[in-house]
Amino acid sequence: MLSLITRRLLTAIPTLLVIILASFFLMRLAPGGPFDGERPLDPATQAALQQVYGLDRPLWEQAWLYISRLVQGDFGPSLVYRDFTVSELIAQGLPISLTLGGLAILLALMTGVTAGLLAAVRAGKAADKAIMMLATVATALPTFVTGPALALLFGLWLGLLPVSGTGNGVAWLIMPVVALALPVSGAIAKLTRAGLASVLKQDHIRTARARGVPETRILFRHGLRPALVPVASYLGPAAAGLLTGAVVVETVFGLPGLGRYFVQGALNRDYPLVLGVVTLYAALIILFNLFADLIYGWLDPRMREG
């Protein structure tokens, strides 16, 4: 297991490098620059600014400089939020994005696995069909529709929850997390249902039933664990989806998370900010995929890599 972790972490380095370089050069192909404001700056100021941030050097040199600083944990200064370094902005935004994403995946796992379990137990009956229908609808609910719709219903009409910002204890988390979790929980419910249905047909389950093992024990001891393998392999893509969903949710509910910095940074040509966020997202997704693989191996020992 340790060798798997080291191997995966080592292969993550070139992957990260490719992502950083691709984003770096993509950004620089864009017309316009970070210092194009409402009023054009005079050429001398423009040139001085370019020089301070090293933007006048050859591109490959800038790329090299960026990466050598990144290795030391320095994401560089933000070009638009002048008084902040990218690290400071990330330190502000990351906890919010991680809280949203983490709570959303927990909620999705709890509701999704429970719903899938209930459906599988009642396979073929009306309850099964109803739950699966709901799950299909849930997977088709885009965050940018459910977010505003929830805000309209619970925020504006019923006045129960705050529509934007991070005040008021933890109430502000409810709607963003629910909007994020809904499509993921639908997908998890379907995977759990399908996984359990195929596991429950297998011989060892029949043996257990013949021996008179109680049904709940069969379900939880023997059925659920192998049935969750497809769910584990879905966790990686789900994490990537949650991170993109978080961009929308942060915009809709006015939360100062990373996603907003990313979109704003891209529009303002704030090169270091965008690169920093992309690097961080890529690293998070790679880490989460590794984590999902470990769960995968734990659930099904046959899948463990040498």
Partner: protein, 262 residues
């Protein structure tokens, strides 16, 4: 039989309305009715009323649906072509080539691809062509995996072996014998790709990075509605509801097709 295909029927109705309504309605989607700004539903010639600058909601809904579906179909076709080409090549050649090609797919799966697409949109302006290509490039991965699996299974079948033994060139086997046999599965996954693409397109448009004014799409309409929902909730509920309806119907039909072919 009929009841089973309500989703498909609904989609067809929506498509027909999106195609026909613009030429039937008295108002264009970007035409401003100065006498009826923020008109409530069922007022005069505006069935669903008008938005905050006096444009007919129904006309905008039809135009937006048309753009969204057009982008979706085009991008899904891009993903189909790339996915089939990639998956069939990997599956047919097999061995090291297959392994390398599939490693690339696995790697791409794990990337924050959406962010690269957002970067692309910012960098190259927001041409509608780029929206197709960008989305198509994200969505081909699943198709490639599925097609590869199908081709690998087919390769072992006697009729393919026979064709090979008879000296039929690979390219002919591919076009004449393999592709027709993966067409059903490809169609099912194409149908499942369309809602994915609709979601990505609306997502980009929602952030202001997709389709640009004066063109409109369901994503833009949802965004406009969300910004104005405290005044007129209808502006959010109509395009949002329509979008969800399209997504749900397409997903149900796509999954049904997939289950039939696998």
């Amino acid at each position: 039989m009929l009841k089973r295909h309500i989703p498909l029927f609904l989609v067809l109705v929506i498509v027909a309305l999106a195609l026909l309504l613009p030429s039937l309605l008295p108002w264009g989607y970007d035409q401003i009715d100065w006498d009826a700004v923020r008109a409530p539903a069922v007022s005069g010639s505006h069935i669903f009323g008008t938005d905050e600058i006096g444009r007919d909601r129904l006309a905008r809904l039809a135009a937006g649906t048309r753009v969204t579906l057009m982008v979706a179909i085009a991008a899904a076709l891009v993903s189909l072509l790339v996915g089939i080409a990639w998956g069939a090549t990997a599956g047919w050649i097999g061995g090291r080539v297959d392994e390398a090609m599939m490693r690339i797919v696995d790697g791409l799966y794990a990337l924050p691809f959406m962010f690269i697409v957002i970067l692309l949109m910012v960098v190259f302006g927001r041409s509608i062509l780029l929206v197709f290509v960008g989305i198509g490039l994200v969505e081909w991965l699943t198709m490639a995996r599925v097609i590869r699996g199908q081709v690998m299974a087919l390769k072992q079948r006697p009729f393919i072996l026979a064709a090979e033994a008879a000296g039929t060139p690979s390219i002919t086997i591919m076009l004449r014998h393999i592709l027709p046999n993966v067409a059903g599965v490809a169609l099912a996954y194409l149908m499942l790709t369309v809602p994915q693409v609709v979601m990505v397109e609306s997502f980009l448009s929602f952030l202001g990075l997709g389709v640009q004014e004066p063109l409109t799409s369901l994503g833009i309409l949802v965004k406009e509605g969300a910004d104005d929902m405290d005044m007129t909730p209808l502006g959010l509920l109509l395009p949002g509801g329509l979008l969800v309806l399209i997504l749900v119907c397409l997903t149900i039909e796509g999954e049904r097709l997939r289950d039939r072919f696998s």
